[in-house]
Amino acid sequence: MPKKTGKVRVRKLTLAGFRGARQRIGLDFKPRCKSIVLFGDNGDGKSTFSDAIEWFFTDKIEYLQREGCGREDYFNRYMPSGQDAMVEVNLSHNGLDVQKILHRKGGSTLAATSPGIAAYLSRSAGESLILRHHTMRKFIEMSKTQKLETVEEIIGFGIVAQTREALLQAANALKKDESLATLQGQREERKRDLSAELETTEFEDADVLKHADELATKCDPSLSISDDGEFSAAVEALKTRSTAGERGKELSALDDAAQKATVLSEVPPLLGRVRALVAGHNKLAQDQERVKAIALQKLYDAAIEAITADWVPPGECPICRAPVDTGQLLTSLRDQVAQIAALVTRRHKVVRAAKALSTRVAPVAQGLDALLEHDAKDVFLTDEGKIEIVELSGALSACTETIGRIEASYDLVERPSAPDALRTIANSEDALQARIRQRREELDETDEERGFYERVHRLTKLLDDHLRYKKLARQAAAYESQVESLQQVHDMFEAVERKGVAQALKAISTDVNGFMTLLHPDDEFDEVELIPTGRRGVEFKLKYHGQEVSPPMKMLSEAHLNSLGICVFIASARRFNKENGFLILDDVVTSFDRGHRRLLARLLCEKLPDTQILLFTHDDLWFDMLKGELPASDWLFKEVTKWTKESGVDLRDSPLSLKERIESYLATNDISAAANKCRTLVEETLKEKCEKLGVRALEFRTGRANDQRTAAELMDGLTSYLKQNQSLRDKTSKRSFNHLRATRLVANFGSHHRTLGATGLARGDIETALVDIEQFESLFVCPGCNAQPSIQFSPRSSALKQCRCGDLKI
């Protein structure tokens, strides 16, 4: 019996109307949650039990889904059409008794004895519980990235992957933020202006202050600038001085006007950018059909989920219930969702650009308005010029409104018209600056005055550029520092994740390597490892006959790859199933040869002693072998009887000995099955005698190789041994040997014609064979101690082998 490890095991599994089970049927593991070997011919319904467990835990049966089967295929075909299906699982832990009903009308419900069942099912999600023949190589054949993702899922790293993605996406989004780009652009603009004034591209704050100090000293030797405070105070003092007289005031106003007039040159490119934005927006808005479909995205997503989770039967639309081609509908829905996602991405780009542009339009519009309000406007603006500026300002206001509408909705917007003033703006600015220059000349500045005002103007602009540059640089640096920090945290997290995955891979690899060498002791497998590859990948690497192989498909046979699949499954379940202490292996030995099957049984016993195993097989030889190999105290042996549509799947206890099995076949008049088992019984009997006597010709083949001997080979070996030792040479013994030879031929005949149904064997032939086998066996049993002569009881040098008491020597 599995030890108590605190993990959940199955006490009983009951089904009705589910898959092959028409009537209520139960697999009972009580009272000690024993493991089970369930034998059944293909098509008799043993997988009904693994299907039921998979559906119970995951709401789906993956291999059926892949084959295009839907939830209606989960119902038994021959039960009344209105009846629901039921799977009841009684688990080892108190309160974990659950009945899950699959409703004909759709959906399923859970009736549980404990409210903790939802938490239990949630904790069980992602655990490796079932391995089937057709999925055992799934992991091996995955891409490296899929392998890593699967390993991460197995080891419960879903939350790790989500966290890593969130960090990376945030860092990337911040890096591409339009506001950051705008800040960086404005910062560079100011830097260019500062570079032009300082006549150097590389400078620091101290260089700006030093340059300002030099300019200020030339204006007034008493001024000194060593920090921003002194810089602001000096500029303020100089500006006050420059505007002290009427003439000075006007000259200062003209300087200011000349600087502010440069805003005119910003208008044409800005209007161009707005028109480009409108064109991009309208292109999106013109596709109104798809725009409207955005509102349906949630509905489409829900419909996709309903189809993939089998909440609706195939052939039925999940929205309107009308008949549809489910495959086509799914493709169409996914296509729609992908198109909507692309549209939304483009829309986000447009909105980001609109936001960035609105931060530029407003200051330029304000700059134009400032020109109209300027103290010296009558000097540099003509009446036509004022009208032009009003026109441009109006155009920018219209742009602001358009940008607002773009940000607010998908509706088409009107393209801003190009004002007439735009065509003459360059001439207007030139004329404006010329009028300012002319007025300066009229004011009859001296060279000294001109120099003074020019320096004050430069200092004023330098201060403005310096302070603005520092602010922009600080704001951009805040972004850049956050990007850097996020990237740093992401990299640190990824390193920790890699370490965690590597630790898990090492643990899985250690187990897989041990299991592979146990399953293939003669095949020289070594250093089987799952190793990280590249940034996001995992692959197998192993040594096979001393040669490094990666990936395993390069060199390994089908059987080896299947072994590897089983080993990975068992290793991952052993290490990472935290909740459940049971596993289902459904027909996983089909491609194994006989020797490896026995080794697999040993692996399960030795490496998973605490786990409840539900082992399903259609291989009767392996089933019989397991009966000898696995302790009856811990294991149940059951058989699925011939499936019928009236009763569906049915079970019976399996006879433990081959003789009992033959008798049970005879009782149901299945002569060919009895003959087949009779052949196995002859082989097993001969093998046992040869092993006990240490028949020399067979000594060097033990274990797996011994399993592969034929009855004829064993009979010849035994005969030769007896002849050499002059044992059992009497007439009765020789007759018994001859009868066994005949039995072997009869059983072979019956066995080999089994599938053809052409055997002419009668029930009496098998009954006689059983008597012959019994008589043959009795030759080797001491009537005194009831033990068989064996090398175990015999001196090493003795040719003859004796029984426990020594009375019988053979």
């Binding site: 790293f157 939350i159 966290t163 969130a166 960090l167 956050q482 640190m492 997290f493 965690g500």
Partner: protein, 63 residues
């Protein structure tokens, strides 16, 4: 058998250690720790938190 840390254990430990890591900007590590603990560590959650950090820093400087 060696115990392998679960994904949650790994994340818990990482964000706890992040708080103590002087190599990482403490405002960022504090924000990420807070978001993770609240189960709100998503791209949008992080961006929103980072924007608030920038605004607060700018207000502190100017105010």
């Amino acid at each position: 058998m060696e115990t392998i840390r679960s994904g949650k254990e790994l994340c818990d430990k990482f964000f706890q250690r992040l708080l103590e890591d002087s190599a990482v900007d403490s405002s960022i590590s504090g924000l990420l720790h807070k978001l993770y603990t609240a189960g709100e560590l998503t791209k949008d959650g992080a961006l929103k938190g980072l924007e608030a950090l920038r605004q607060n820093a700018e207000e502190d400087r100017e105010g």
